[in-house]
Amino acid sequence: MKSSLVSAFVAVALAGSFLACDKGAKEIKIGGVGPLTGEAATFGASTKNGYDMAVAEWNAKGGVLGKQVKMTFADDKGDPAEGATVFTKLIEQDKSIAVVGTVMSKVSLAGAPICQNAKIPMIATSSTNPKVTLVGDYIFRACFIDPFQGTVGAKFAFDDLKAKKAACLFDVGNDYTKGLSEFFKAKFTALGGQVVGYEGHATGTTDFKAQLTKVLAAGPDILYVSDYYNDVALIAKQARELGFKGPLVGGDGWDSPKLMEVGGSAVEGCFFTNHYSQDDTAPMVQAFVKSYKTKYGADPDALAALGYDATNIMLDAIQRAGDTDGAKIKDALQKTDLKTVTGQVKFDGDRNPVKSAVIIEIKGGKLVFKTTVNP
């Protein structure tokens, strides 16, 4: 009795898998991952909207390789263990030929080895940790990595702000801010500028006056502050108190309304680098913003834009590969040269995108798109 039950199950399962295979020939199956619940839930929701929009657009244009695209979405809950499970499920059970995702670096780091071993190409959306793509040659990402922002910031300060002397301030306990400052210094010096001050501060401190007095004594034109918004607001206020009139420049850690709330007039006329701005006048960005607003009734944030771009990059690569074989898609991905919402994307040797960043200016207490800077 029991064994017949088991064999019945096996028969059903086999039939199911044959059916799945058969169906797979008619459509292109890819996986999508994001944190729909947990600490990064809002990030996941925006990212998924981006995925869905890109897939719908491809399907409306006739799909990929002449077939409709079907994306199976899985919630990683922002948890690496859960992430490993859903990446495995998407590959083993859902037979995805490629995976788009995910948001958080720690979860992408759990999923990347699974994709690498299965030879399934993966493109992370907004995981900025440099280690993610170093897992293997099947792992790509759609966002730029942290150090890149320092390079772009230096270029903007030198070319657009005409700064000749700069000083850097960063948090010694945070790799993100240290990395940004290191790359800023390298690029700014390479361009012919002079870094006249380079000072760290302890995590959680509120008194930056000693460091500021020291670096301001050297007369910098700009201050490069790679901290998060909380510290930036305090640094800006104290720098103004010490008589500094020039602009402060920083990275995407500034992107919060709290910056203007605390910083007030002290952060006015300051600039930071970011992935994308919905005020960007480029037609592709405006088209994306418009259709996103129509579809979801909300403003698309950087995560939505990166989710949309990652999906487009992957589907474009499958189209150019002309095949659903992982190795061929991977080779096509490496040769990507695609215009996306967050800039023209090409991949470097470590499968990180080489693309433009946007500069946001704080003007009248609001974040205003200033310009696009190419690396």
């Binding site: 760290g200 302890a202 509120t206 000693a210 007095t213 020291k214 004594a217 104290q238």
Partner: protein, 302 residues
């Protein structure tokens, strides 16, 4: 190298020292009276900052921004710090007054954590830091080679007025006399008809209100407040009190200004050194002169 001991850095150090001094006074007074190192004192400072924050948004509706408003906020910050100090004494330290001294010390750590986590768990306060409003317009002055804002002057002025007031209180009033008596010998003071518990409560009230005032000044100067903002300044003010000689009121002020300037100059020399200099000072003081600069010789200390 040139800018390490510049006039500007001395001004920065004095400003920081003024805030440390107000906190250190409470540490040293409470230690002088009940021989308790009140580790929750840094959190009274935090409560003061939040009281000032709350007072600002409360009175913002019907008081014009300016000096009068700032004065009201200062009073409420001091009341906030004083009230929480008084309550801590009443409910946590008083029942343990004649128990081994270690019990109160451990209780003080408990009170400290209670305040921190209570504040971060309260829904309308919450764990994330918030910006502190500008109570008055900022003006800049150039004095010699230094940029000095009116905030620096306010910090120094408030600290100076409170310290002079405290000196007068201790030296000239009956309550001050009683405080000095209790700090010398609790039992003898009791025999002389002094209400020792009342004096202790008063000391906590004054110490807490000074910490509250420091909370407001810190909020103005470094405009970010959070439930854990008191830990490091509290620790550093404690070291300042030890440096000056714990239990000694002028010593606490002297120690605090030395600490403020040492920290600023060390940070200017190397930003990593600045955070650690306080603890280097603590070790050196304990090794070379455990009674502190102005401290009297006592037989036992914790």
């Amino acid at each position: 190298m040139g800018s390490i001991f510049s006039f500007q850095q001395i001004v920065n150090g004095l400003q920081l020292g003024a805030i440390y001094a107000l906190i250190a006074l409470g540490y040293t007074m409470v230690y002088g009276i009940v021989r308790l190192i009140n580790f929750a004192h840094g959190d009274f400072f935090m409560v003061g900052a939040y009281a000032a924050y709350g007072a600002f948004y409360l009175f913002n509706f019907f008081l014009p921004q300016g000096g009068g408003m700032a004065f009201v906020v200062l009073i409420l910050a001091m009341l906030g710090g004083g009230a929480v100090a008084l309550l801590s004494n009443q409910f946590a330290y008083k029942p343990l007054r004649y128990k081994p001294r270690l019990s109160s010390l451990v209780t003080a750590i408990g009170v400290s954590m209670l305040l921190e986590y209570l504040f971060s768990a309260t829904p309308f306060i919450g764990p994330s830091p918030r910006g502190f409003p500008e109570l008055m317009k900022k003006h800049m002055f150039t004095i010699g080679s230094a940029q000095v804002s009116n905030y620096v002057m306010i910090d120094l002025l408030v600290a100076a007025v409170l310290m002079i007031g405290l000196t007068l209180l201790i030296q000239k009033t009956p309550m001050g006399k009683a405080m000095r008596a209790v700090s010398q010998d609790k039992d003898a003071a009791k025999l002389m008809g002094i209400d020792v518990e009342k004096v202790i409560s008063f000391t906590f009230l004054i110490g807490g209100s000074f910490a509250g005032a420091a909370g407001l000044l810190a909020g103005l100067t470094y405009p970010r407040i959070g439930p854990y903002m008191g830990i490091l300044p509290g620790l550093k003010a404690f070291i300042a009190a030890v440096l000056g000689g714990i239990g000694n009121v002028p010593g606490a002020v002297l120690g605090a200004f030395i600490m403020g300037i040492a920290e600023t100059c060390a940070t200017a020399y190397n930003s990593l050194l600045g955070e650690g200099i306080a603890f280097v000072i603590l070790i050196v003081v304990l090794l070379l002169r455990p009674n502190g600069i102005l401290g009297e010789k006592t037989a036992d200390k914790i």
